[in-house]
């Protein structure tokens, strides 16, 4: 017995399958996370700093119309000579503000409903989940656009330009349901785990179990999904101007900047491509963060 355990383990034979050791998960998880966080941090920093420090405002005629990228105008100028660099980063403020609002509101509502469904009576659960299923099977984008369009007359509210708040409301109305489905599933599986049983046997109240035991354990999953959601949200928000919804001009926004460039795509690609690249980099940053977080949630199964 002892001899077998002490014997040096033979090197695993390199079968063509190299059966499940999932070396991928452990390889560079922190490198990917750091890169993602770094890129996201850079984008956030630029949206704050560039509009403050730039010599041009977003509405200034800063140079010759449609001049290509240069040192003075890193992203070139648009059809009326406005600086695309400033407009992109100022637009980013609007996009990021909307994304934050969408993700926070959807996750809060969705988590609450999910926990109520998981902890409530079977009837409550059944009613809430039917509603959730119904909303999830809506053709999201089309409904979102219809809602946003109908409310597009709502004016400027606080820091939000015209059209921003209707867009946010429209997305949240559809979006919370995904969180509910996720949270309910997780909460149900947790409810049967020992630590919750122990808490119940100790006579703790339902609200204490939810706030002190369930929610902290749900946090990682919900946060990981929030990151994924932030990618989807920006694609939806930036897609809206293409069918006339979302933030209304002259306020800049990534999608409307790109749309404005389509008419001059052939002669001045930078008006469209530069803001588009920023959106793509934003997406890559969040994908890297989300993948690292999900790898943690799955316990390295990825």
């Amino acid at each position: 017995m002892t001899t077998t355990t002490l014997a040096p383990t033979p090197a695993p034979r390199r079968h063509w399958l190299r059966l499940p050791h999932w070396r991928f998960a452990g390889r560079h998880p922190n490198g990917a996370l750091a890169l993602g966080l770094g890129l996201l941090g850079l984008i956030v920093l630029l949206t704050i700093v560039v509009p403050m420090l730039s010599p041009h405002s977003a509405t200034d005629i800063a140079g010759t119309p449609l001049s290509p990228p240069s040192l003075a105008h890193p992203f070139g100028t648009d059809t009326v000579g406005r600086d695309v660099f400033v407009r992109t980063w100022l637009g980013g403020r609007n996009d990021l503000l909307m994304v934050i609002l969408v993700v926070l509101a959807s996750s809060t509502i969705g988590t609450l409903v999910g926990v109520v469904a998981a902890m409530g009576s079977p009837l409550t659960d059944s009613v809430l989940m039917r509603l959730t299923d119904a909303i999830i099977s809506f053709p999201g984008m089309i409904i979102v656009m219809a809602i946003a369009l109908v409310f597009s007359d709502m004016g400027e509210v606080g820091p939000f330009p015209r059209g921003a708040l209707p867009a946010v409301i429209a997305i949240v109305v559809i979006n919370w349901a995904s969180y509910t489905r996720l949270v309910r599933g997780e909460a149900l599986s947790m409810r049967s785990r020992d630590f919750v049983t122990a808490a119940t046997l100790l006579g703790y109240s339902k609200s204490r179990i939810v706030t002190r035991h369930l929610l902290p354990n749900l946090a990682t999953t919900v946060v990981a999904y929030m990151v994924v959601d932030a990618i989807v949200a920006v694609v939806t928000i930036a897609g809206m101007p293409f069918i006339g919804a979302g933030i209304q001009p002259p306020a800049p926004e990534w999608g409307s900047l790109m749309l404005a460039g389509t008419t001059v795509l052939y002669t001045a690609w930078w008006v469209t491509v530069m803001p588009g690249l920023v959106v793509t980099v934003y997406g890559i940053a969040l994908s890297l963060i989300a993948d690292s977080l999900l790898a943690q949630v799955d316990g390295g199964a990825r």
Binding site: H15, W16, L17, R18, L19, P20, W22, R23, F24, R27, R130, D133, A134, I135, S137, F138, P139, G140, M141, I142, I143, V144, M145, A146, I147, L149, V150, F151, S152, D153, I231, V234, V235, T236, A238, G239, F242, I243, G244, A245, G255, M258, L259, G261, T262, L265, Y266, W269, T272, V273, G276, V279, T280, Y282, G283, I284, S287, L288, D291, R302
Partner: protein
């Protein structure tokens, strides 16, 4: 046990025999009781979702601050004209009557009449636009499957080598690119190289294939990487299962293990994924079409909103909802046919 039940699907050679779990529910309520129950449940859910879409779109029309008739006619219209239009739109009737009229029309497949061109029905306006959009979506589906399955299989079978990691990185980049952004880059390429017409349309989707493939490629970045990533994940999970290990232990050649045991079991989640993604694809198509100047639901929606043609907006939302629900039901049915295990799990 798990080996026996799992490999039934993998081998695909014979129907489940007496001892399998599918035999249990047959004892009560006949052979198809499970199917009937699942179908009834699905139909009930479908009706609920459709009703929800109708209520939401109807509610929206009436929740808008101000009078739709006034919004359509503008601020300068005389009260008389507004009253006439209100009457024509049926807005002077009680809400319940209006709702009943709408539902009655819908049950007859009638989406109403356009407010802008009073002579045209919403059906007439929406049907061709929707057909065009579906054409784009269909081609995008084909491209996504071709690319997604290939990349998924290659990255799933290869283990963390250069090709796997390179393709993985490419998928993350594609997944992070909004379809309309990718569409514009493709449009730029088309303009410079003339590989495809830079936007436009020619009659029906079938006549317009040369116009479709570029926007469809753009749209496929929303789905192809998702298919590739989930298939890769799924293949790796399948490899870890006992029946695959057993197949390897029996000394089956690699090709046979992959094609007969791993792939059929790994492809299952993709069916649901496609059904689930369709709603997003239709929405994405609406946006991409605008970039490529295709007369689909995107431009129709934009025009309808510009002219406050609410029945058309409502019609597009309803038709999209029906399509998405139908596809989800098809995906469920496909599971039922392909995977015997779901027949017991579904109830």
């Amino acid at each position: 046990m798990s080996l026996a039940t799992m490999s039934v699907g993998a081998e695909g050679s014979s129907a489940p025999t007496g001892g399998d779990p599918a035999g249990a529910p047959r004892a009560r309520g006949g052979r198809h009781a499970g199917l009937v129950r699942a179908l009834a449940k699905r139909l009930g859910q479908t009706a609920l979702v459709l009703f929800g879409v109708v209520v939401i779109t109807f509610g929206l029309l009436h929740a808008i601050p101000g009078d739709p008739a006034r919004l359509i006619l503008g601020k300068l219209a005389t009260p008389d004209k507004v009253a006439t239009l209100r009457h024509e739109m049926g807005l002077d009737q009680p809400l319940t009557t209006q709702f009943a009229t709408l539902v009655k029309g819908l049950l007859h497949g009638d989406l109403g009449t356009s407010l802008v061109s009073r002579t045209q029905s919403v059906n007439e306006l929406v049907a061709p636009a929707f057909a065009n959009s579906l054409g784009v979506v269909a081609v995008a589906l084909v491209i996504s499957l071709a690319v997604g399955l290939t990349v998924g299989i290659v990255t799933g079978i290869r283990r963390n080598d250069g090709l796997d990691r390179g393709l993985q990185a490419l998928m993350v980049i594609l997944l992070s690119t909004p379809p309309f952004m990718f569409g514009m880059v493709l449009l730029l390429v088309a303009l410079k190289t003339k590989i495809a017409p830079a936007g436009g349309w020619n009659g029906t989707p079938l006549q317009s294939l040369e116009y479709i493939w570029l926007p469809a490629t753009a749209l496929s970045v929303a789905l192809a990487p998702v298919i590739a990533r989930s298939l890769r994940q799924s293949i790796r999970e399948t490899f870890a299962q006992d029946f695959v290990e057993a197949a390897i232990a029996r000394g089956l050649p690699r090709r046979r293990v992959v094609l007969r045991h791993v792939l059929p079991n790994s492809l299952l989640p993709i069916i649901g994924l496609i059904g689930y993604s369709l709603g997003g694809l239709i929405g994405g198509a609406a946006v991409v079409e605008v970039v490529f100047n295709i007369p689909g639901i995107g431009s129709r929606m934009m025009a309808a909103v510009g002219s406050r043609d609410f029945p058309v907006v409502q019609g597009i939302a309803l038709v999209s909802a029906v399509t998405v629900i139908a596809f989800n039901a098809l995906a469920d049915a496909a599971y039922w046919i392909v995977d015997p295990r779901t027949r017991t799990a579904a109830s």
